[in-house]
């Protein structure tokens, strides 16, 4: 049955209700549904509502099926992001903040690790024979060193990707990696196709089978055969298994996007610019997974540096210590030197003091000497200059002064006797002793006369001949220092008696000295000879006056030793003297060995006492 709706609607006579009735009869409830559906389609709000209910599921479904959704949405999302950033960059920054922080930290860590790794590699590169070999290769092949390193350290690198039209073998698009060696890709793609054909023909492979891998040395050509195009990747190194899969996926995408263009390809490759990013995505590479090992070389260099600096530090410390020690030693030496200097100065001072004292002693000794007056002295290089007054009859200091030793004050230097330079002027001393000496010089008294000065009085005692008495009277006034004469004790005797007195006095004034604890007498001594002559002369003179002479020899000893020993010594000395005098011609009757003189003399001697009877 056919409903002529035009006739129905054009006829105004037919009531609307009838038409409705007729529709209901014919279409039933479906008609209402159709109307509702149309209303929904025609009303955008309702349509959007319906789509909104399923849009997520639809996107999910499509995303699972292929990646076209990403391709389609990418420009939109990029635009949206750009606009958002233009509008309010802070919002995006805030949103990204939780991601960026860890990412930046990770990046810094990676960079540091990489730097250390690079340092290690650099060390290795500059040292290992392998890298030296690579340098040689670079020089030999004329490539840059980095290229050679890249080639050798790559496990694989997709160097070129060809998209070739299957039927014509013409190149649709070509992508190449940096540093890849590329020869005319147009011709290469043609030849590749020709080779494929050659293989297929030569070995009569089954339909649909195709060459999918060529290998030459380290190069591999992976070929993915699509319905209209061939995707060929030239790989240096060992291509991983999933590379073929990647090529296959890329091929699918290309066919998906460019299916029609491929089908109707007439030699214009321009439209295939679109798929270039897909080809570039295939230019993957993987560097040799270097064994994750500790960078021992870097560590050892670091350790060596540390070691060197430690050694240097140790030496520096040692040298510092040594310098300190030397400085201390020098300081000590300086102190010692100063102390030594002080000691030397002290010694010199002491020496000087001693010198002064010794000199003072010498001066005192000179001053104590009668007839010597020291008015001044000074020190000179060689010794001393002394000046003053000297009585002509006084002993010259030269004869009794022992020159003091000149101390230099330096250790080990021997002291030398000082040279004494005397400058005396003559004077007449009024000292009693000097007065007596002058008196003796003027008067020449015989031995029996004794001269003395007591309290300014010149005393003359003993016996003398008349002639000498006259001389005394005549000259005593001219004796310097004599103002008054006492001659009451002087006896005037005849000449013989005077001679006898003189001889007695001479004998009694004689004494002979001995060595300590010794009683030996030098038999050649002139003293004994003279004594013997004097005694004999006295004996002769005494005989002329009818008198006899007796000479008593008395020995003496010092107080050392026992009295017993001394007694023996005294008698031995007396005996020896007597024996010698006997030998020299003195009559034995004259000589008598007597007791020690009283009071006992403390001297090692023999003395003589004369008696006339």
């Amino acid at each position: 049955m056919q409903v002529d709706s035009n006739a129905a609607t054009s006829d105004p006579e037919v009531p609307k209700q009838d038409m409705q009735l007729l529709r209901d009869l014919l279409l039933g409830k479906d008609y209402q549904s159709l109307l509702e559906l149309r209303r929904q389609l025609n009303t955008p709000e309702l349509h959007s509502e319906k789509v909104a209910a399923v849009v997520s599921e639809a996107i999910d479904l499509r995303a699972r099926r292929d990646e076209s959704l990403s391709d389609v949405l990418t420009p939109t999302i990029e635009n949206a992001l750009s606009r958002s950033i233009e509008k309010d960059p802070q919002r995006l920054a805030d949103a990204l903040y939780p991601v960026m922080g860890p990412a930046i930290r990770k990046s810094i860590h990676e960079v540091l690790a990489q730097t250390f790794e690079t340092f290690n590699q650099l060390l290795e590169q500059s040292l290992s024979p392998r890298f030296l070999g690579w340098r040689f290769d670079a020089w030999r092949t004329g490539r840059s060193y980095s290229e050679v390193v890249l080639l050798n350290t790559l496990e694989f690198q997709v160097e070129q990707v060809f998209l070739i039209h299957s039927k014509t073998g013409l190149l649709l698009r070509h992508a190449e990696a940096p540093h890849a060696i590329v020869k005319d890709p147009d011709m290469v793609s043609g030849m590749l196709t020709a080779i494929q054909d050659f293989i297929a023909d030569s070995f009569a492979v089954q339909d649909g089978s195709s060459l999918n891998k060529l290998r030459l040395g380290e190069l591999t050509v992976l070929i993915d055969q699509g319905p209209y195009a061939v995707l060929a990747a030239v790989v240096r190194g060992n291509p991983p298994g999933d590379l073929a899969e990647l090529l296959n996926e890329t091929q699918e995408k290309i066919h998906q996007q460019m299916g029609n263009t491929l089908l109707n390809y007439q030699g214009d490759s321009e439209p295939f610019v679109r798929v270039h990013p897909l080809l570039e995505a295939c230019l993957i590479s993987q560097r040799q997974q270097r064994e994750k090992r500790k960078p021992w070389l870097a560590y050892s260099v670091l350790a060596a540096l540390l070691g060197l600096s430690a050694v240097w530090g140790y030496h520096y410390y040692q040298s510092k210590q040594e310098a300190l020690r030397l400085a201390e030693q020098q300081q000590l030496m300086e102190q010692q030197r100063q102390a030594e200097q002080l000691r030397q100065q002290e010694l010199m001072k002491q020496a000087e003091q001693q010198q002064r004292q010794a000199w003072q002693k010498t001066i005192d000794q000179m001053t104590a000497e009668p007839g010597v007056v020291v008015t001044g002295s000074e020190r000179n290089e060689a010794g001393y200059r002394v000046w003053g007054l000297l009585d002509p009859l006084a002993r010259h200091p030269e004869t009794f002064v022992k020159p003091p030793l000149l101390q230099t004050g330096f250790e080990g230097e021997q002291a030398k006797p000082a040279r004494l330079n005397f400058e005396f002027q003559s004077y007449i001393s009024a000292e009693p002793e000097m007065v007596l000496r002058h008196a003796k010089q003027v008067l020449e008294p015989p031995g029996s006369v004794r001269l003395d000065m007591q309290q300014g009085v010149f005393k003359v005692s003993g016996s003398a001949e008349q002639s000498w008495r006259d001389k005394l009277d005549r000259y005593w006034m001219s004796i310097p220092g004599v103002n008054k004469l006492d001659d009451r004790q002087l006896q005037v005797v005849d000449p013989v008696q005077g001679k006898i007195n003189n001889l007695v006095a001479k004998i009694q004034n004689t004494r002979h000295l001995f060595e300590h604890a010794n009683a030996d007498i030098d038999e050649q001594s002139p003293d004994f000879k003279r004594l013997a002559e004097t005694i004999n002369e006295l004996v002769k003179l005494a005989a002329s006056t009818n008198k006899n002479v007796q000479v008593t020899i008395s020995g003496n000893s010092d107080e050392s030793g026992t009295s017993q020993a001394n007694e023996k010594l005294v008698s031995a000395r007396s005996e020896n003297a007597r024996n010698l005098l006997l030998k020299l011609g003195v009559p034995g009757a004259v000589l008598l060995v007597g007791e020690s003189m009283a009071p006992a003399l403390n001297e090692r001697s023999v003395r003589y006492t004369v008696k006339l009877y």
Partner: protein, 170 residues
């Protein structure tokens, strides 16, 4: 840039290779001829201001021992059939090649006959009869001489022109 695949066909030693040698960019060695039977060169031409890249498939000469692989002819946009003007057999081979081309599933492609070795006129065997046979095919016929540098550019220019015309017609 438009690219087109052109096949160079002809009997052995008709001078296909020497014909193109001086006019093309070559990457591959002659030995490919004897190994895989084809060598590919490239020739840039300009027709009425339009640049065209011709990929020249120099296919090894057909003889008793070497037959052309049909796969090599697939997708070609034109062909140059080279005839050695001093050798009878090359003429026959050229004709049979032309026949083969017309029977290809891809349909008729522009063909240009190159009568090579045109400098050797004393040995020339292409007479009027033969010329008529060739002309009947409706293809362009160009006398060429690699030695005298004659007609080679014309061959490619003519072929490129025909290809472009066909494209526009399509």
């Amino acid at each position: 840039m438009i690219q087109k695949k052109i096949c160079m066909l002809g009997s052995f030693s008709v001078g296909k290779t020497s014909l193109v040698k001086r006019y093309v960019s070559s990457l591959f060695d002659e030995k490919y001829h004897t190994t895989i039977g084809v060598k590919i060169d490239k020739k840039q031409v300009s027709v009425e201001g339009q640049e065209l890249t011709l990929m020249l498939w120099d296919i090894a000469g057909e003889d008793a021992f070497f037959t052309i692989r049909p796969a090599h002819l697939r997708g070609m946009a034109g062909a140059v059939i080279v005839i050695d003007g001093t050798r009878e057999s090359s003429f026959d081979v050229a004709l049979s090649l032309y026949q083969m081309l017309t029977g290809l599933p891809d349909g008729q492609v522009p063909v240009c006959f190159a009568l090579n070795k045109a400098d050797l006129t004393d040995q020339w065997i292409i007479d009027d009869e033969k010329m008529q046979v060739l002309e009947k095919t409706g293809c362009e016929i160009v006398e060429t001489s690699a030695l005298e540098n004659r007609g080679v550019d014309e061959v490619f220019q003519s072929l490129a022109g025909q290809i472009l015309c066909m494209k526009q017609a399509v």
